[in-house]
């Protein structure tokens, strides 16, 4: 059963993705496209945080780097937008490697501290060199047009692009965390000392994980820029980096499928779920729930509750559920194989 | 007369592994009792069950009263001092700061009495405790525990890692505290000969159970104990 769980899960995900646009409006399709790109970012960050145990509070900036790469290439150099996507990943990945090289020499808290500075530094650098980046104003991208002779609504086309990328990157991540390298990642997470003693170069592993995660986030950022058709420094605030990490925790760090839940959360908590919860609260307490900041409070409280109630995230809950199911089933099995009956 | 410390049917486990299976023992006022046994017999766990640093079942009574709460700080406040394995010295603090920590629960600590027993501490008061020798650290731990004026002192392997001469010095001071100050002592030792020389009574533990008990003299003349723990 467990041998088939992964391919079956992937097939279910792919089917859901294929069917969804037929069931919902164009606007919701557009939103679901963002879920796809967040999935790419989260899967990448999960390789670093969930599988290697390195907390990063700065990966929103790598999305920013990917977004700016795409924008500058398209706007200033006339590239076709789709072809910039892999390059955006490479640029972000290389910068991630360069940052990870020194940063990953340090254990837990130091890395999280250093990464916390990346988003604010990124914004500062973007503002400092306006002739290259467009400064505070940013740059506008042309609307995405469907290719290959397809004529569909831009929202649908964006959805297709995002999810094709996501459904390619997802199994790639699975291959990365499954094999020998994946074992090295987990060894570093569980005990750096033991990993080193077993011949794993922790610095190299952490740096590589950092680079891979930055690559994923760069791709996601490129898609993000294409989706919203503009970039400016405020598009990638520190909140985005935090939100990505929150998505990891809520989805369940160290689980790839959990990231689907994480991505749904990242996309919807600010736009629909948060205000929904607030509406419920406001009916009870007559609060001004449209005030700025109220959404943040909701998502902070949700995060806190999850940490207390289900620290392993959505994936952890699903795992518990499966365990209960299989226990029930094995109970049935043992009753059949009762020695008195044999 | 109610004993100062009474354990009845105390069991404890580390996760799945049971370390104590119903240990019962007593220590009277002013008495020095040794707890002997091989590695893993449950000696340390017995002390830890008393001081609340391991979860236990069964009763621990101090002066006939059940402990209020089984947390280390509240047991310490009930007058039971536990010098743990490795001595629990704050190696980054100075000698004097370590002593002040010993007096943490006491409103007016009597440093003078302590310095009478450990006069050398005075000249080392500003030295970092981690730079003391092993024997000196053990003495500092003793002095620190005594400052709180406990009713019962529990020592875990005071001889561990010390040269024989230093061990003898440590036991001399412990005996002094026991005889002159009337301090009850429960000492865990692997070095049975040293412990039996100083203690009045002893218990021998094997795999989490008390297997032999008696006065120090009785145990010294017990053939099984002699071959197993005294080596002659």
């Amino acid at each position: 059963m467990s041998r088939f769980r992964i391919p079956v899960g992937f097939a279910v995900l792919a089917c859901a993705v294929a069917v969804a646009p037929f069931l919902v409006s164009n606007y919701h399709t557009y939103q679901l496209a963002f879920v796809g790109l967040y999935l790419v970012a989260l899967v990448g960050l999960d390789i670093l945080t969930g599988f290697t145990g390195q907390i990063s509070l700065g990966h929103g900036a790598f999305m920013g780097i990917g977004a700016y790469t795409t924008t500058i290439l398209v706007v200033d150099h006339g590239w076709r937008d789709l072809w910039t996507i892999p390059l955006a990943g490479v640029v972000a990945g290389v910068i991630g490697l360069a940052f990870g090289l020194p940063a990953t020499r340090f254990a837990g808290p130091y890395l999280a501290l250093a990464t916390f500075a990346i988003p604010l530094s990124f914004i500062g650098i973007v503002k400092r060199f306006p002739s290259f980046t467009g400064g505070n104003v940013g740059k506008n991208l042309p609307q995405l047009h469907s290719e290959f002779g397809w004529h569909v609504n831009p929202s649908i086309w964006f959805y297709v692009v995002c999810w094709v990328v996501a459904l390619v990157m997802f199994p790639v991540a699975y291959l990365i965390v499954r094999g020998r390298f994946g074992r090295a990642l987990r060894a570093v997470r569980d005990s750096e000392i033991a990993a080193t003693a077993n011949g794993v170069s922790t610095a190299a592993v952490k740096t590589a994980a950092f680079g891979i995660s930055a690559f994923y986030c760069g791709i996601a950022g490129s898609l993000y820029a294409i989706g919203i058709t503009y970039v400016n420094p405020d598009t990638f605030p520190i909140d985005l980096s935090i939100l990505l990490l929150v998505g990891i925790v809520l989805g369940g760090a160290g689980s790839l499928y959990g990231m689907v839940f994480g991505a749904l959360f990242v996309e919807f908590i600010r736009i629909s779920w948060g205000p929904g919860i607030l509406d419920l609260v406001s009916k009870a307490h007559h609060l001004d729930t449209h005030a700025p900041g109220s959404g943040l409070v909701v998502y902070g409280v949700v995060l806190l509750l999850v940490l207390y109630i289900a620290p392993a995230g959505a994936a952890g809950l699903v795992r518990q559920l499966l365990a209960i199911v299989s226990r029930l089933r094995s109970k049935k099995d043992t009753s059949l194989s009762d020695p008195s009956l044999v | 007369m109610t004993p100062l410390l009474e354990l009845s049917e105390v069991s404890a486990r580390y996760g799945q592994v049971a370390a104590l299976h119903g240990v019962s023992l007593t220590v009277d006022e002013g008495e020095m009792v040794a707890l002997l046994g091989a590695n893993g017999a449950g000696k340390t766990t017995t002390l830890r069950a008393v001081s609340g640093t391991v979860r236990k079942s069964g009763d621990v009574l101090v002066a006939g009263k059940r402990l209020r709460r089984a947390t280390p700080e509240s047991v310490a406040r009930d007058g039971v001092a536990h010098v743990p394995e490795g001595r629990g010295i704050f190696s980054e603090l100075t000698v004097w700061e370590n002593l002040r920590m010993g007096a943490y629960m006491v409103r007016r600590p009597d440093f003078k009495v302590v310095l009478d027993y450990f006069p050398w501490l005075e000249s080392r008061r500003n030295q970092q405790a981690g730079t003391l020798s092993g024997g000196e650290q053990q003495m500092l731990a003793l002095a620190r525990a005594f400052l709180a004026r406990p009713r019962l002192l529990m020592l875990d392997e005071p001889s561990l890692g010390l040269a024989p001469l230093v061990t003898r010095e440590v036991f001399r001071v412990v005996s002094d505290l026991n005889e002159k100050e009337g301090l009850a002592v429960l000492v865990v030792e692997q070095n049975a000969a040293t412990a039996l020389a100083a203690a009045q009574r002893a218990y021998v533990l094997e795999t989490g159970r008390v297997v032999v008990t008696g006065t120090a003299d009785e145990l010294r003349s017990n053939d099984a104990v002699r071959t197993a723990y005294l080596g002659y």
């Binding site: 808290p109 500075a117 900041g293 943040l296 409280v301 | 640093t53 280390p72 704050f90």
Partner: protein, 294 residues
Amino acid sequence: MQQFFQQLVSGLADGAIFGSLALALVLIYKATEVINFAQGEMAMFTTYISWSLITHHGFSFWEAFFATLLIAFVGGVLLQRTLIRPLERASVLTTVMATIALLVIFNGLAAWIWSPQLQFFPSPFPTTSWVIGGVHISKQDLGTFGVTIGCVFVLWLFFRFTKLGLAMRAGALNPAAARLLGVRTSWLLALGWGFAAALGAVSGMMVAPTVFLTPNMMQAVLIYAFAAAVLGGLESPIGAVVGGLALGVMLNMLGTYVHPVTSELRLPVALGVLLVVLLIKPAGLFGRVVVRRV
């Protein structure tokens, strides 16, 4: 030369603010190995409280200052007892995420309660300066430096000379041994959160007059404080303060004498410094040597 001294003094004033927030981080980190990412937002939130006391409740600056210290202290203790303590046995990721949740909540609450608009925060110091030998020294800078370092000094006295302060240090070094001596370490951790919150409040109230009060005003300061704490070795209280002062002076000097370093590049430069320091000395400039002697 005149410019140099002026920059030195404003650098020290900035640095004292970084240093006090860095010290708040170190206090909690030393005792629990948890980095409190909400430290900056807690400082911001308490600064709003003092602002509200001054503008809406008729407090003078100094009345509000001390009232806020008290509120911050109590708030810090309560936070630890109610939200952080239940996570004692949780993984590092979970605990870090809890402090991040607090960061998000405080940031949102401040905007919710007081609106995200810029607010003017009064300064207790005059805007004039003293002229000493042709050098203008701003009273604002000197006052900021004095108050912040004064608070740090009071805290140092507490840790050095009181029984409770000693117990807190001992509890951070070896909690198991401290408990065996009758120390209620769990309450001392809460006390540590209280002190850290109060220190953060000092840094917030000192920085607010120059940067204006907004819910995001402490984000950059927090990163400078991180850099300062890392410079100092994360475990050394003195290192954190000295690291803060060094960073403040360095950033001001770079901004004055190195043309391409404009205000936008202050943060990236701080990040660069942090990375270089960590590369050369992974344990920070003050390593462990100082820690052991404190």
